[in-house]
């Protein structure tokens, strides 16, 4: 009997050993990974004991402040619906998103580069003081963008093409950040997806606004000049299919400049096949497609643009037949882009062919007033050389002067742009991308409206004008 008793004890001891191994696994080996999970309430709870640093707009006005209630700090939003999806939230129950998530270490005073004071706080087990994060968002531009969208579903991105500083990111429908916690379940289920940041996460067919990129590729590779002549018969037949113009218009003989001005699909379809798949894709990559714009946000909040099969990004080398190439060159087929990506296409032309790395965080200001982590502009992509960028700039001015984009014109200022109207079922995805002024660009925009009966020139271009006007009227830009 004793032998069986000893064996039973041994078996139980083995079970206890398994418990101990598992404890070591959870508390030591996997501890780091578990601690950083957004579902981890204890960590966010720990942070609610710290006065979270404020999130400021570029002019220093408060976007997200802090107020103490019952010993725990809470967010306040003095400017209401100010880019709520991008600024994000830090909630005990729902985790974190946006700037609140990506800049959490600064906002809670835990980042290593905050200096001696934060080290002392940690050493003495004092609650550290959070640092303020100043964004590049300019209130006048942001508010103009939000107001322009009104009750339509869409997104606007405005950025400084010379530095890459993002001045506005508006996405509608949006939500009141002060009520987020109470209504989270409801908001996250709503079909209109108000929590989605359409400006950075929304993937849409860019339609004719993509022709800027195709034209740029054609100019730089020598496939065409602005004066190269094409003939439009209303239909371009290629590998068993055809490319037609919007509204089945027929334009006859046209130059490349005219093709861009009046958005002639057949000319750009032909141009696509003269470039061929490989070069078209290569230029898409040069303009930032297939690369995540490195904004200071969690990776999942900025999506990569490119060619898609359903929801999956296709590799750049995925095969395409000439018909697919022709339609891709006019921004249809399987090409999808975020409004941010299209704003970067406009910015590339505005900035002499160079795309600056887009950024949202201007600097971090410590509780003692010191400035750390000041963002300096850096080049992200070399899309075109300066000569071809200038040619493309002039062609885009024609669009706004006499072409499809006249609604984006501003009095006394030359505006360059391109409209886009991608057909999605019965409705359109309307676009306008552009910049102002054409000679000395200070703002590049992308405007898109979902599910509209109107065209880009009618629906999106006026909104772009309003946003560019607000930016040009502002003295202090990032």
């Amino acid at each position: 009997m004793n032998k069986a008793i000893v064996r039973t004890f041994m078996a139980l001891a083995v079970l206890f050993a398994a418990l101990m191994v598992n404890v070591v696994y959870i508390q030591v080996i996997r501890a780091g990974a578990l601690r950083d999970k957004p579902q981890n309430r204890a960590r966010i709870l720990q942070e609610a004991r710290v006065e979270r640093g404020r999130i400021l707009a570029f002019d220093g006005s408060v976007i997200a402040g802090s107020r103490k209630r019952d010993g725990y700090w809470q967010r306040t939003y003095p400017q209401g619906r100010f880019a709520p999806q991008t600024v994000g939230y830090s909630s005990l129950r729902y985790g974190q998103s946006g700037i609140e998530a990506s800049m959490d270490d600064y906002l809670t005073g835990q980042a290593v580069d905050l200096g001696l004071r934060s080290w002392l706080d940690r050493l003495l087990d004092r609650d550290p003081e959070g640092a303020d994060v100043r964004l590049t968002l300019v209130p006048a531009v942001q508010k103009a963008a939000r107001q322009a969208l009104g009750s339509q579903t869409g997104a606007i991105v405005a950025l400084d093409p010379v530095t890459g500083a993002v001045m506005a990111v508006a996405s509608t429908p949006d939500y009141d950040p002060a009520q987020l916690v109470d209504r989270f379940a409801q908001l996250s289920k709503r079909e209109s997806a108000p929590l989605l940041d359409r400006a950075l996460q929304g993937l849409y067919p860019p339609g004719s606004s993509f022709k800027v990129l195709t034209a740029g590729a054609a100019l730089q590779t020598g496939v065409a000049t602005p004066e190269t002549v094409f003939e439009d018969t209303g239909t371009y037949r290629v590998s068993g299919g055809k490319v037609t113009n919007y509204g089945d218009e027929v334009f006859g003989v046209n130059t490349l400049t005219e093709a861009l001005t009046y958005s002639i699909n057949t000319t750009f379809g032909k141009l696509g096949n003269e470039l061929r798949r490989q070069r078209l894709i290569a230029y898409m990559e040069r303009f930032g497609f297939w690369d995540r714009p490195p904004l200071e946000l969690p990776q999942s909040m900025v999506r990569i643009s490119g060619r898609f099969d359903d929801d999956a990004l296709l590799p750049p080398g995925a095969p395409m037949d000439p018909l697919a190439v022709a339609w891709a060159a006019v921004g249809q087929e399987q090409v999808l882009a975020t409004p941010l990506q299209m704003a970067l296409v406009a910015a590339a032309v505005a900035n002499g062919g160079r795309i600056m790395q887009p950024y949202l965080v201007d600097r971090v200001i410590t509780a003692q007033g010191g400035e750390v982590r000041v963002t300096k502009p850096v080049v992200w992509k070399e899309a075109l050389d300066a000569r071809h960028a200038v040619q493309l700039n002039e062609m885009m001015q024609q669009v706004v002067d006499v072409g499809t984009g006249t609604a984006a014109a501003l009095s006394g200022i030359d505006v360059a742009g391109k409209t886009g109207t991608a057909e999605r079922g019965d409705a359109n995805q309307a676009w306008f991308i552009g910049f102002a002024s054409a000679e000395a660009p200070r703002v590049a925009v992308a405007v898109t409206i979902e599910d509209t009966p109107g065209t880009g020139g009618a629906v999106a271009a006026p909104l772009a004008a309003a946003v560019m006007r607000a930016a040009l009227d502002e003295d202090a830009l990032p």
């Binding site: 009997m1 069986a4 079970l15 418990l19 101990m20 579902q39």
Partner: protein
Amino acid sequence: MRPRDRELLLLLLAAVLAVVSYVAVYSGVFREISRWSLVYAGIFVVIFALLHLLMRFRLAEADPYLLPVAALLTAIGLAEIYRISPSLALLQGRWLVAGAVVFVLTVLLIRDPVKLDRYRYIIGALGLLLLAVTIVFGTEINGAKLWIRFAGFGFQPAEFAKICIVIFLAGYLNDKKELLSVPTGRLFGMPVPRVRYFGPLLVMWALSILLLILLRDFGASLLLLTIFIALIYMATSRLVYALVGMTLFGIGAFLAYELVPHVQDRFAIWLDPWATADTTGYQLLQSLFTMADGGVLGQGLGRGYLLFPDGRPVVPDLQTDFIFSAVANELGMLGAIGMILCYLLFCWRGFHIAIWAPDGFSKLLAAGLSAAFALQTFIIIGGVTRLIPLTGITLPFVSYGGSSLLANLMLLALLLMVSHRSNVVLRGTAAERFRLAEGG
């Protein structure tokens, strides 16, 4: 050193740890040290001092390690409950007093544990009655029917039923062990008893399945069946019973999975808590996070982030089923491993008593109680650490809950009585042996 002196020394150590932990919790929560923290510690020290005195007079030869280990676990439990909710700690303090009374009554009334063998059918029937009462009057909490409400108190009869059933099985199996272990056939070269001797095993199996379906309580039925498998193996030394038992257990688990939706949920959560992180998987995930936040050294007693601003614990049921996560958070990996080692020590002493016990009933009683204690500990710690699917049972001596504390102090008293009796029989004086033979 004599056993009781050794016990006193270890109890003093436990008392020091108790005082330190109350003061730490109090200063951690309220950022000050007050005499109230010392009053709590004082009550705790007085109770175990009284139990120690009883041991000196009545169970002088009993094992010296069990009581201090139980005291240490109770102290950590009380400190952690106090940290989660001071009002619950006050109630648990009262339960500790009641538990001490149960301990004293068990020692004084039963006197000689071997006498329990005579009443095994009554005790077994009492165990079944307790379970039946739960089935009839039980209120459902968290999908399982475990509690009965009586005069404003929640009561978990299953905790006591467990002890009754161990006593009954120890007596019954000791009686029938020769019969059960006679091999009469061979299966794959292994000596196998006649089929009808598997009767008791099948009855217990059916009972635990019935319990599972009626109570929807996976924990209690799992515990019951594994206790039985351990006991029949120890009684007969026949591995075939253990193997058949395991197979039956597998079939039972499959049946349960198919028939009881509650079990399916628990299983799904265990396999992938991330899929339901906001709903059913929330509790288990937060338990893992809470442990991970503890790290190696822990946040410190009273200094972990265990409560929401409104006082609700981040992990639901933190003070009962999930108290191990709270301990692991505040005392770290070292504290958590230390606590598991305390349980292993308790279990080892229990089996040690069983090995040295002079008669079969005492052996099976001590081994059965220790196995029950160890299995319960394994099931709940394994559950909250996602080693096995979670089933709601209490962590002995540490979880908040009157029934659990009372039942485990009774279990402790029984083990100590068996230990005392064995040591007296083995090396006691003639007078003591005589007194024992006279029945007190």
